[in-house]
Every structure is written in C-alpha cells, then in structure tokens.
C-alpha cells in the first residue's frame, strides 16, 4: 500500500460521512476533501468539476456511465467509489400530475448542471417500480418486463421494496453524493458553487436512504462492524468477500442491457437487493484455496489462477476460458464444490454473453456488512435467470454439493430485500407515463 495511515483515516472518514449523511456529514466531507492528499483526489476549491451545461451533450441512456468513468489498467470500467440510494414515494394519490412531473424534471436537470456528468463529478439514475406504474389506469408497456419483486430461491425470504422511485447517486467524491441528495431535496441553497433553484421537495417523500462504497481498501477500513472479522479483509480488496468482480468480459454491455423497442427504448431495468454477508467462517475457517474454489471454481483453486484479490485475472474471471461453466454438474460430483462465478457463467444470453451489468457495492448500513446488489439488465427475467443459475438448485443434490454446502457462496449471504425498477430513457426520466 502506498497510502499512509493519515490517508487511510481520511478515506474512512469520507465513507463514514456518507453513511451519516445530512449537513453534518456533508460538512465533514467537504472539509476532508479540501485537504491536500497524496492520492490525487481532487481539491474542492481548485478542480472540483463544474456541471454539464448542455443537456444535448448527455446520452439518452441514463445508465450510460462507462464512458464517463475511469477504467483500470485492464480496461475494466471502475465503478464510482461512493453511493447513495434514495427510495422515495410520490406524495399524491394516483397518477403524477404534469406540474409535479415538470418540477422533478427540472430538479434532475439542475443536478446535471451542477456537477460534471462523470464518476469524479456525479452520475445518477432515476428508476420507477411496478408500484409506481400501478398509479395509472393504463398498464405498463408490454415492451418492458417489470414484475413485482419476488423471492428467487427456495431458501430466501426477503422483504420487498415498493417505493415509487429509486434515485441512485454515484461519485468518487463522498461530498458529491451527499450534497446532491440535499440539493435534490431542497436542503441546501448552493451546491458545488451553484445556486439550488429546482428541487423535488414537496412532491416526494423519502422512505429509505442507503449508502455504500466499492474500491480497493474501502472494505478493509470498515471491518469494525458485524459480519466480518476484524483485520480479515485483504487490505486491497474492493468488496468484503475479498475478491474483485465486475470484469468487463463477465459483464453485460450497456448496449445489451438496453431496451430496444417501445416507449422506453433506451431504458433498462434495474434490480436492487440487499444481501447480508456473514464472513466469520469465510475468513476464519475456510482456507484460501477453499475461498477461491467457492468464489470462482475448483479449477481456479487447483491451478492457482487467482492471485490476491484477483487483479491478475485482468479483464475476465476466466470462467469461459477455462470452460468451468460447462462443468458445474461434473464438478459437483467429482470435486464436491462448485464456484459462484462458475455457476453464473451458465446464465448467458443467446449470443453467449452475460445478462447482467453489475453495479453492486458494499455497505455497512445498520452496522452490518452487506452488499447493495444493484444490477441492470434488459428485462427482470434476465435477472431471475441469472439468480437461478447462482442458486445452483440443479446441483443441490449432486455429489458433494448441497443447498448451500459447497454451493458457491450461498452459505455466507442472505437476501434481505429485493426491488425491481425501470430506468426510463433520460428523456422520460421524470415520472414517466406507463406507455
């Protein structure tokens, strides 16, 4: 690690400030970010990016984040480090009226004008749930597959999120996600040096606020919560389970998750689940080789394909290259263990490509480790199919594998909440009509 202790402390403080939120959190963040750093995080007063002036500069796909994000040396898009999820309800009964629709549209547009559309500025999406579309008499366009959330495994019993809308704020700057929330809800007079004039205050009611982070070092700095042994998470791990994910070869593209027809062409669907992770056994009882076998495959473990957190894998988890996706049942029988990535390799579309674009991140909300598993896919059916592959029910009675025993990482995660949303194209971002 090149970071000194002082800087680790600073990053920890920034993450904590996001979790705290509110004006206190924001003030703490801005103060921290204005201090000079060794890691190149920008100084607010000198190079905090200004907003995007022209709406025409921005893609119509709300989810087109990759070209506005960093990429790592292997070409993998790097998700912004700090995240806030805002679950909110429209305050009125029935359909949203045009005055409110216009007000929200202006507020979202003003956010774009306040921050540069980039992971070092602010990226955000606004999604709408099936419950939202129930406000209208006419049904949601058949070109969109957006069922109500449901339990997706025989061994899970999640609660269901049914807010009208979900706003996902993402930035490498803790201050931006905090400030943007407050600007959106009319809690600030200025944001990023601009006057706040348009807000959704008064037309929506916040029902839940969730926070998270992803990136090398962040999980290890937050191991003082329930669900993970202190000091166990590798110092450079981007997520609590200690391995990299989101390899570009194992992700759907922004293009392939885009809805192509109907009134929401250019949009996509979004699934958000909250997974709790319990990692005492993972780190204190499983060996490293067992962790690699359960996360990737027995082949990855036997051939020592994963170094450290898996940065050596480059742009692929190697599930296709090794062919392990075709050997799930054979491995269950012969090896007695099947890997998480190995099982997911089976959930490919007709072109052999992954169905999900993962944008998940770690959390310590409520003092417990977990994952806000956020993914984008053309249809919720794509998510259900992928989750079904991950459930491994087909190998739950094959050889050494059980419902959870040696069945990927199922033993260590519990699905607590699920919710489904439509991300309309940007032109219909504000309270879309169903067709």
């Amino acid at each position: 690690m090149t970071d000194g202790d002082r800087n680790l402390t600073r990053r920890e403080a920034l993450r904590a400030a996001v979790a705290v939120g509110g004006s206190a959190g924001l003030a703490a963040c801005l103060n921290l970010e204005s201090q000079p750093t060794e890691t190149g995080e920008a100084n607010r007063n000198t190079d905090r990016p200004d907003g995007t002036e022209s709406a025409a500069e921005l893609p119509n796909r709300q989810h087109a984040w990759n070209e506005f994000s960093r990429t790592d040396k292997h070409g993998n898009p790097v998700l912004a480090r700090h995240h806030v999820l805002l679950l909110a309800n429209y305050v009125g009964d029935g359909p949203v009226d045009d005055v409110d629709r216009k007000q929200a549209a202006n507020a979202f547009r003003e956010l774009e004008e306040t921050y540069r559309w980039a992971s070092d500025g602010l990226l955000f999406t606004v999604g709408y749930s099936p419950a939202y579309f129930d406000r209208y008499d006419e049904p949601l366009s058949e070109s969109v597959d957006l069922p109500r959330p449901a339990a997706l495994a025989p061994f899970e019993d999640p609660s269901f999120d049914t807010p009208d809308l979900l706003v996902h704020l993402a930035s490498d700057r803790a201050s931006a996600v905090l400030e943007a929330k407050q600007a959106l809800f009319g809690e600030l007079e200025t944001a990023n040096g601009s006057e706040v004039t348009e807000t959704i205050d008064g037309i929506v009611e916040l029902v839940d606020r969730r926070t998270g982070f992803i990136g090398p070092g962040l999980p290890a700095e937050h191991d003082d919560v329930d669900g993970v042994p202190d000091g166990a998470v590798p110092k450079d791990a981007p997520l609590f389970m200690g391995f990299k994910s989101g390899f570009v070869e194992n992700q759907a593209t922004e293009n392939s998750v885009t809805i192509t027809e109907g009134p929401f062409a250019g949009g996509t669907t979004q699934h958000l689940s909250l997974l709790r992770t319990e990692l005492d056994q993972w780190y204190n009882q499983d060996s490293r080789e067992q962790r690699v076998a359960k996360m990737f495959s027995a082949t990855h473990a036997a051939e020592d394909l994963v170094e450290g957190v898996g940065d050596n894998l480059g742009d692929s988890s190697l599930v296709s290259e090794t062919g392990v996706g075709d050997r799930v049942s054979d491995d269950a029988f012969e090896e007695g263990v099947v890997g998480h990535a190995q099982k997911l390799a089976r959930a490919r579309d007709e072109n052999g490509d992954p169905r999900l674009l993962r944008r998940d991140f770690a959390t310590v909300d409520d003092g417990r480790t977990g994952v806000h598993f956020l993914s984008l896919q053309e249809s919720i059916a794509d998510f259900i199919q992928t989750r079904s592959a991950m459930n491994g029910t087909d190998v739950a009675n094959v050889g050494g594998v059980g419902t959870k025993n040696n069945n990927g990482i199922l033993q260590y995660i519990t699905t607590v909440r699920r919710g489904n949303y439509l991300l309309p194209p940007r032109s219909k971002r504000s309270f879309p009509r169903p067709s």
């Binding site: 005492d280 060996s287 007695g336 050889g399």
Partner: protein, 386 residues
C-alpha cells in the same frame, strides 16, 4: 506427555469431579496432533481460525509425529467431553435438538481440500443441532441451517452464520460450529432449516419440502461449561470409534443394521475406511420415476454406522453383457435412511458391480474422522455372493 496442551484446560479437568453420563469426543487438548491447540494471536476470542492443509504449518499440525502417521484412518480420539442439552422441539416434520459442548476443533472440506479449524482463546461453546424424523427415527444429515444467537435481554446479535454439516464419533451427523459468547447470561438461539435437497422416497416423499424455524433459550455460564467432563482415552489413536452417546435423542445417528434394510442384500464393500452396503429393491420406492428395481447403497462409517452424506457416488452394473453406468443420487427413505440410489431396470443378483467415488463426503469432521473417507479406490463386487 501432552505436548501443546492448554494448561488451563488441564487445571480444570483436575478440579472437575463430576462425572456425567453424556460425553462427546473431540475437544482439542492432548491429542497427538501437537501444536493444533496453540492459540493464534489476533483472532476473535472464542472463535476459530483456519489452517490450510498443504501448507507447512498445516501438515505439521496434522501429522506431527510418527505415531500420527501410522494412525488408522478411523481412530479413537485422545479425549472426550460432555455435552449439555439446551432443548428439544418438534417443528414441522422434524424433531430438533439443540445442545452444546466445549469449543472444538474440526476440519471443513471443499473438494479434497481440508481446512483445519482451530480453537481460539476466549469463552464460547460448540453449538450442535441434531435433526431427525420422529416417525421413523431417521436422522436428516443434510443442510447448512442458519443460526442466530442473540442476547436475550438486549436482543443484540452475538453470532449469525450457517452451521456446518458435521460428523463426530459420539454425536453422529449433526450441524455445528463454535460460537463465542461475550458474557455469561441468557441467550436465544434461532435456527432455520431449508427444504431437504436429497430425494425424499417412500413415505418420505414430499415430507421435507418446507422451511421451518426453531428457537431455544440457552443459558451460558462458565460454571456449567467448566463441568462438562473431559477425560483422556487410553485407547487414543487405536482403530475404533467412541460409542454413540446415550442421550434422550431417540435415534443415535446410526443407520439401520444390514439385516434391517429393505430389499435383497447384494453385499458390502469397503473403501477409504467407509463401508458401502448394497441393497437391491425389486421395485423402486415412491419418488423414483421407475417401476423397476432400485439400487440403494448405504455408505456408512465403520463401528458406529453413521451415514456419509455429500459424496459423489457412481455405480456400474454389468448384467448379461450389458454395462450401465449411473450416478447414484442422495436420498432419504424411512427404512433405508440416508443412502445413495438410482433405478437400474435390469439389475439382478449375480451381476458385477463397480462403485466409484467422485467427491469424498463433504461433511466437516470432528477428531477421529479427519483422515478417513477421503480417498477411495474403485470397489467391485458380485451382487449376492457374499
């Protein structure tokens, strides 16, 4: 005499004069695996920590002496502890017993890879859940039941994890793990059971398909745990196994004796220190999509006849010049108990049969079983000739 042994444990053994009727093998003191009892620093109090096998340290932990290397695959451990029953309750189709003993070391498996789970400093218990069908008294050895331990007064969570499916000489198949308890006091233990993934046959068809919860109240007091007897066993390291514990749990975990099994007896083969009892049922039980014969293989430990779940097992049967090779699926049946089976339409006494093991039983091992049931050669027999 007992290298690496924790002196505080020896002290309280010396002080403990109370003999209990129930005891359980496997606490980590004084076994011939020297070094395993040393407590690593930096680990959670009362918790556990893995030592990967295959590392120098792991190998040294496992086989530190010539004696250990010569040890029979299934052997008597050096010591046994008592156990305390927390409670017993009927939930859905199950009877569930919750019990505990002293913190134990054990081994978890993923494939051939074994990880040694050592005991760390601090106070805690080895929690054990035992599950059976009260109608036919068959243990259900499958699952990874989530457990949550809470402080009864504050509601604060002390531990939340999935228990390992485990095998111990005195407790048989159970679900367990070590749990650190921060303080003496009252706790609640909430257990959840997922639907059984094994085939459910005969009267068991469709019986174990719902998720059920069970809750117990647990009093954690060190004066109770200090009185859980530990004794050293003179026959330690010799071939054999400690007897199944006598408890008020009705089935002791042993599978039915060979003569009690339904069907025609095809013989018994041995491999990896396990026994494979071969039975042929002339008509496949309900739950199997066949009206023809059904081959059932009861894979079990020697001595105590415990089932060996989570194993890849395949049979090749040659009848009248025709060879059929099929994987055998894990299943539970009121009379066969836990077994592996598949329909073989043409199977008959006199046929040649070969059993191959893929994955060794992926069940965590307590002491005395850690070197057994890992490597298997193919096993052959002529049905009915024994």
């Amino acid at each position: 005499m007992w290298p690496g042994r924790d002196p505080t444990r020896r002290d309280f053994i010396a002080m403990s004069g109370v003999a209990l009727g129930m005891s359980v093998a496997g606490c980590a003191t004084g076994d011939d695996a020297a070094g395993e009892t040393e407590t690593p620093s930096g680990a959670a109090p009362g918790g556990t920590e893995a030592t990967p096998e295959g590392t120098k340290a792991g190998r040294e932990n496992e086989l530190p002496t010539a004696t250990a290397q010569e040890r029979p695959l299934v052997h008597i451990p050096a010591h046994q502890d008592g156990m305390r029953m927390v409670g017993m309750t009927e939930v859905g189709p199950y009877m569930v017993a919750m019990s505990y003993t002293l913190l134990h070391d054990f081994w978890v498996l993923a494939g051939q890879e074994k990880s040694y789970v050592r005991i760390n400093d601090g106070q805690g218990l080895h929690l054990m859940a035992t599950v059976w069908d009260p109608e036919y008294n068959q243990r259900i050895p499958l699952g990874s039941p989530p457990v949550e331990v809470r402080d009864a007064a504050s509601g604060d969570s002390v531990a939340e994890k999935s228990l390992w499916p485990m095998l111990s000489q005195q407790m048989g198949p159970h679900f367990g793990d070590n749990v650190a308890f921060p303080d003496e006091g009252e706790y609640t233990v909430q257990l959840s059971f997922d639907p059984v993934s094994a085939r459910q046959l005969g009267e068991y068809r469709g019986r174990f398909t719902d998720s059920v919860d069970a809750e117990f109240d647990l009093l954690f007091r060190t004066d109770i745990t200090n009185n859980i007897r530990e004794r050293f066993v003179d026959e330690a390291g010799q071939a054999g196994a400690l007897e199944p514990m006598e408890t008020n749990m009705k089935p002791n975990g042993s599978l039915p004796g060979v003569r009690a099994l339904p069907g025609d007896h095809g013989g018994i083969v041995e491999g990896g220190a396990a026994k494979f009892v071969v039975q042929v049922l002339r008509k496949a039980p309900a739950g199997i999509d066949s009206s023809g014969p059904y081959l059932a293989v009861s894979a079990r430990t020697p001595y105590n006849q415990y089932p060996l779940p989570f194993m890849g097992l395949r049979a090749t049967v040659s009848s009248a010049g025709e060879e059929v090779r099929e994987p055998l699926k894990a299943a539970i049946h009121p009379e066969l108990g836990y077994h592996y089976g598949a329909p073989f339409p043409a199977i008959a006494m006199g046929d040649e049969m070969t059993l191959e093991v893929g994955a060794p039983p992926q069940i965590a091992r307590h002491r005395g079983y850690q070197t057994a049931f890992l490597e298997f050669d193919d096993m052959t027999l002529t049905l009915g000739e024994q």
